[in-house]
């Protein structure tokens, strides 16, 4: 738990002052969006909230709905 906080704080410290100083608003926006996503995922991981796996969704989509599959065995 504490690792997450440290690491995420570290990320902000490294990136944000430089971006603010150089007034790179676009970069700051992109950074913030990704940062929030990372933060949410990180917290979900630490708090043991199950994170939906994109590959399972893809597997479901391709195999069950489209029916394309290699025969097993």
């Amino acid at each position: 738990m504490i690792f997450i906080i440290l690491i995420y704080a570290f990320i902000i410290i490294i990136n944000v002052p430089g971006l603010l100083k150089r007034k790179e608003w676009r970069e700051l926006t992109a950074f913030s969006i990704l940062y929030v996503i990372a933060l949410v995922l990180g917290l979900m991981y630490v708090l043991d909230i199950p994170i939906p796996s994109p590959m399972k969704g893809l597997q479901h989509l391709i195999v069950d709905i489209l029916g394309i599959e290699y025969p097993q065995g």
Partner: protein, 368 residues
């Protein structure tokens, strides 16, 4: 306008591609469960099928010098559709990078350091990749020479050490397995080691000179494929029938090295080799991912995106699959199917469209 200020030479591209393909040497163990002693055939067939496709990437890069994949997509498919295609690619890079990072974790927790918590390994490895990416492509390109030589050295030396335990009759009988399995094997091998070179469409935008792109790409691919072949041949000759039951046949055959009771327990060789090569592969993928996203969003530099993306990647790698069993099953089915259009269909299509439309138009000047 291209983001990357770094430039790499064509020869460095050769080594980058060779190292990249070599990084999948343990991924061949995926297919061994399916194709048993015919794995070498599968590798050769996949090489034959993928070579024209990969060369089409090189030709595409040559046609659009200095431009990376996202810019090419924008030009060929128009602003909207191009961005959709680029997003598809970015999803692919995101997922594949997390699989590769997860592979390293699985390597360590299964064989080398079984007591270490999975996430720590992922974090440490990703942190190293992140650092490499912030330094830029030039650094990676310079290091690739060393890594490729190390990879080849390890493969050849393990092969030589095991010669007295090899029995080449284990390659017989040829053509025994049902064709559908061979086909799936070819599909897997052409997608995972060879097809992932589609990531180079971004890196080729950094070449300072696109004259010898096609030749160097071909040789890079060839060196990588030969490395894979040596590995697969060694495993089949040494283990024969048992290679289907081990989690990693490469590891197991190296464990059998026993020369003069001095050269034993050489597991570390493959640990070192694989770690180095997967590191190269992951750093390249990471670089490609970051540059693609920055290019898509029109950013001036990719640096600020690196760390958040690294965090996202680690979490995805840690949670996307439950165990190696899941990993294998899903990759052998959905994993290769969803990425097939990206590797086989879209780039040659782009080339075709570019030829028909006569892109890049000379009056356009310097891109967007």
């Amino acid at each position: 306008m291209s983001i990357e200020k770094g430039k790499i030479s064509s020869q460095q591209l050769l080594f980058l591609i060779a190292g990249f393909v070599q990084g999948s040497v343990l991924l061949i163990d995926f297919t061994v469960g399916l194709t048993e002693h015919q794995t070498w055939m599968v590798i050769l067939a996949a090489l034959a099928i993928t070579t024209p496709v990969v060369l089409s990437y090189a030709v595409l890069a040559k046609r659009f010098p200095g431009m990376n994949l996202v810019q090419i997509n924008d030009m060929v498919y128009g602003r909207f559709l191009g961005k959709v295609v680029s997003v598809y690619y970015i999803f692919f890079f995101l997922m594949t990078l997390s699989f590769n990072i997860r592979d390293v974790g699985e390597l360590y927790t299964t064989f080398l350091m079984p007591d270490t918590p999975f996430v720590f390994l992922l974090v440490v490895f990703t942190a190293t990749c992140t650092y490499a990416v912030t330094k830029g492509i030039e650094v990676l390109a310079r290091i690739s020479h060393l890594f490729v030589v190390t990879g080849i050295f390890i493969l050849i030396s393990t092969f030589i050490f095991l010669i007295d335990q090899m029995d080449f009759s284990k390659f017989l009988p040829f053509f025994e397995l049902p064709f559908i399995r061979i086909f799936q094997g070819i599909h897997i091998v052409s997608m995972i080691p060879f097809g992932e070179t589609v990531a180079f469409l971004i890196i080729m935008g950094c070449l300072n000179n696109t004259e010898h792109v096609v030749k160097n790409t071909f040789f890079g691919l060839l060196i990588g494929a030969v490395s894979l072949l040596i590995g697969a041949a060694r495993n089949t000759a040494v283990l024969g029938r048992t290679q289907t039951i081990w989690t990693s046949p490469s590891f197991q055959s190296i464990r059998l090295i026993d020369i003069g009771t001095v050269l034993t327990r050489m597991d570390f060789l493959i640990g070192i080799g694989q770690t180095i090569l997967i590191f190269l592969k992951c750093s390249l993928f990471f670089y490609v991912l970051v540059v693609a996203i920055s290019q898509l969003l029109g950013l001036k530099s990719y640096l600020p995106l690196v760390l958040p993306l690294a965090a996202i990647e680690v979490i995805i790698a840690a949670t996307v699959y439950q165990s190696p069993v899941d990993h294998t099953m899903i990759t052998q089915n959905a994993g290769i199917i969803y990425s097939t259009p990206l590797v086989f269909i879209i780039p040659p299509l782009s080339l075709l469209i570019a030829k028909i439309r006569g892109l890049p138009k000379s009056e356009r000047g310097k891109g967007t």
